[in-house]
């Protein structure tokens, strides 16, 4: 039985549909990410689970128990807020102890539990600090410790790393993942950052306009996106418009040439779009393949991003590890494997 189950949940705010028949499950000990652009309903879905919103229809169950009618303070779910929402009049210790005190824990139990949490988030000896004396990264960790203190079976994290700078964010990603693995608590994270979702989550639900577009593991989402939106939102991609030709096997006819397809379920002449990741295109000086010209080179360290002009006003982004061999204006050949990329029907 899944730990959290959302069944056919819908929610409207006036004329705005925030959630439209959303269903998903989160297993015990799972790190689950709700990924989508702002306004896609991911935060509303999280607030529905926390009890701050009630669904217009559908239901939310936790460990088989229907949560309908249970106010936030009676749900065994804790939330880490995007703004952290730390209490400025309390110090670090009292912030973390807040939930424990509401549970009626004894003084000794509170002492040891807060010490344990300060240890987990690596803030030993900082219990007496005032919130305004903490750095952004420290506040983030206090907020995490405070939400974990009551021992929730499910922790909700609303954009937990959004307020941190890039370097700290990457460091905290590893810490967050590490803490989740050690505590074996289910984490549900809301994020608009696809790198964060791919790096952290066991499974990702990609949302758009109140609906779930796809649920899957990070490799599934990245390699086999279910829709054009998912392909475009998660990772960089080249979206090539064209149509299908079924003479002599399957072909995708792009403005710059015919590409052989390994398998193609679409009928002959159907309009379609091919999503090709930059690293799925192999660039070479000569040989078979689509002819193009190097228009731009961006060195990124471990990879180099090339922009290759393949037709009038059409360029493909290509990522390769030895791209600095090429120079601007150089003619090149692009090899695209028949099984590379994902073909979407135009109907969407």
């Amino acid at each position: 039985m899944p730990l959290l189950s959302v069944e056919h949940a819908s929610k409207r705010f006036g004329a705005v549909v925030a959630l439209d028949d959303v269903s998903l499950t989160v297993d015990s000990g799972e790190f689950f990410a709700l990924l989508g652009p702002s306004g896609c309903g991911k935060t509303t879905l999280m607030r529905l689970v926390a009890g701050f919103e009630t669904p217009d229809s559908g239901r939310v169950t936790l460990a088989g128990q229907d949560l309908a009618g249970a106010p936030p303070h009676r749900r065994p779910v804790n939330m880490m807020f995007q703004s952290y929402a730390l209490f400025p009049h309390l110090n670090v210790f009292d912030n973390i102890a807040f939930g424990l005190r509401r549970q009626g824990a004894s003084r000794v139990a509170i002492q040891s539990r807060v010490a344990e949490l300060l240890d987990i988030v690596q803030m030993q000896n900082l219990g007496a600090r005032r919130i305004e004396q903490l750095s952004g990264g420290q506040r983030q960790r206090v907020a995490l410790a405070r939400a974990l203190a009551p021992g929730p079976s499910l922790l909700l994290l609303d954009e937990p790393l959004a307020a941190l700078d890039r370097k700290l964010r990457e460091e905290m990603q590893f810490q967050l993942k590490d803490i989740q693995r050690r505590l074996k608590t289910s984490f549900v994270i809301v994020t608009h950052d696809q790198d964060e979702a791919l790096a952290l989550a066991d499974r990702i639900a990609v949302m758009r306009a109140g609906k779930i577009e796809q649920i899957g593991s990070p490799p599934e989402i990245y390699e086999r996106p279910a829709s054009r939106f998912v392909a475009g939102f998660v990772g960089a991609t080249n979206m090539i418009e064209g149509f299908v030709a079924r003479d002599d096997g399957g072909w995708f006819v792009a403005p710059f040439g015919r590409l052989k397809r390994a398998d193609c379920a679409l009928r002959d002449g159907a309009r379609a779009a091919l999503s090709l990741r930059p690293e799925q295109i192999v660039v070479a000086r000569d040989g078979e393949g689509v002819p193009g010209v190097v228009e731009d080179i961006a060195f990124r360290g471990e990879t180099t991003q090339l922009r290759i002009g393949v037709a009038a006003r059409q360029a493909l982004r290509v990522s390769c590890t030895n791209g600095n061999r090429f120079s601007l204006g150089e003619p090149v050949r692009l090899m695209i494997a028949p099984d590379a990329g994902v073909l979407f029907a135009e109907a969407e």
Partner: protein
């Protein structure tokens, strides 16, 4: 140019505070005549101590101010919570207007209305009616201050408290009240000074035996300005000044802490 600017500034301040300075200076005048300086003396302040009627009026004014300010702060808090937290309930616009109308209502009208109400309900006019009247007209000020404080508060703080197991009432008491404590103090002091200063509404709503200090001063001045009136006015001024300073400090402190 700099001289001219300083002069304008000086003239402005003289216009604003000159009369008050003259009043304060004259309270230390040894001469009985308000127009003639007869040397420095504190005898009018000493004389105040023997003036039982004035002392009694001061006591009544302070009690009314403290009581009505406490009531106005509580009512203002309730109104501000309703306006800030209950969303767009159907009569919200009407409620907002009704709460804040006394801000712009002429005091004479409000005083007369209160008097009519007390007479209609058969209330004996005196201390109690005075407290009720002052609570009524200072409540709109406390509600403005507290509404601003509640609006400035991150609503996720209260949500976080509830998420961590606090009932809505406890979340309010444990998180919201401490956060708006400086504004509560400021609202109380504002209502306190407004009540202390009020003459118009007090004149309408009080009865014999409950004469406030401003009423006492006003009635004495009708018989002629005496140094003794100057002395009591100076004391009142100093008192209000101190309260306003405390209130300003209370409101400014959290802002400085955040910076």
């Amino acid at each position: 140019m700099r001289f001219a600017r300083s002069l304008v500034l000086l003239l402005g301040f003289a216009f604003l505070y000159g009369p008050i300075l003259i009043l304060a200076a004259m309270s230390f005048n040894a001469s009985k005549l308000v127009t003639v300086w007869g040397g420095f003396s504190t005898k009018w302040y000493v004389a105040l101590l023997d003036d039982a009627a004035t002392l009694n009026a001061a006591k009544i004014s302070l009690s009314v101010a403290a009581l009505s300010a406490a009531i106005a702060t509580l009512l203002g808090l309730a109104a501000a919570v309703a306006l800030a937290r209950f969303g767009g309930f159907r009569t919200r616009g009407l409620f907002f207007g009704a709460v804040h109308a006394p801000l712009v209502l002429p005091e004479v009208v409000l005083g007369l209305a209160l008097l009519s109400a007390f007479v209609a309900f058969g209330f004996e006019r005196g201390f109690v009616t005075l407290v009720i009247a002052h609570a009524t007209f200072t409540m709109c000020f406390t509600s403005v201050v507290l509404l601003a404080a509640l609006r400035g508060l991150d609503p996720s703080q209260e949500e976080a408290a509830m998420d961590l197991g606090a009932t809505p009432m406890r979340a309010f008491a444990l998180v919201v009240l401490p956060a708006i404590a400086p504004s509560l103090a400021s609202a109380f002091l504002l209502a306190f000074t407004l009540s202390l200063d009020d003459l118009v509404i007090a004149s309408f709503t009080t009865g014999p035996g409950a004469t406030t200090l401003p009423m006492r001063i006003y009635s004495q001045v009708r018989l002629g300005v005496t140094p003794e009136v100057n002395a009591i006015s100076t004391l009142l001024l100093a008192f209000v000044g101190i309260i306003l300073a405390i209130s300003a400090l209370a409101l400014n402190r959290p802002a400085r802490d955040l910076a």
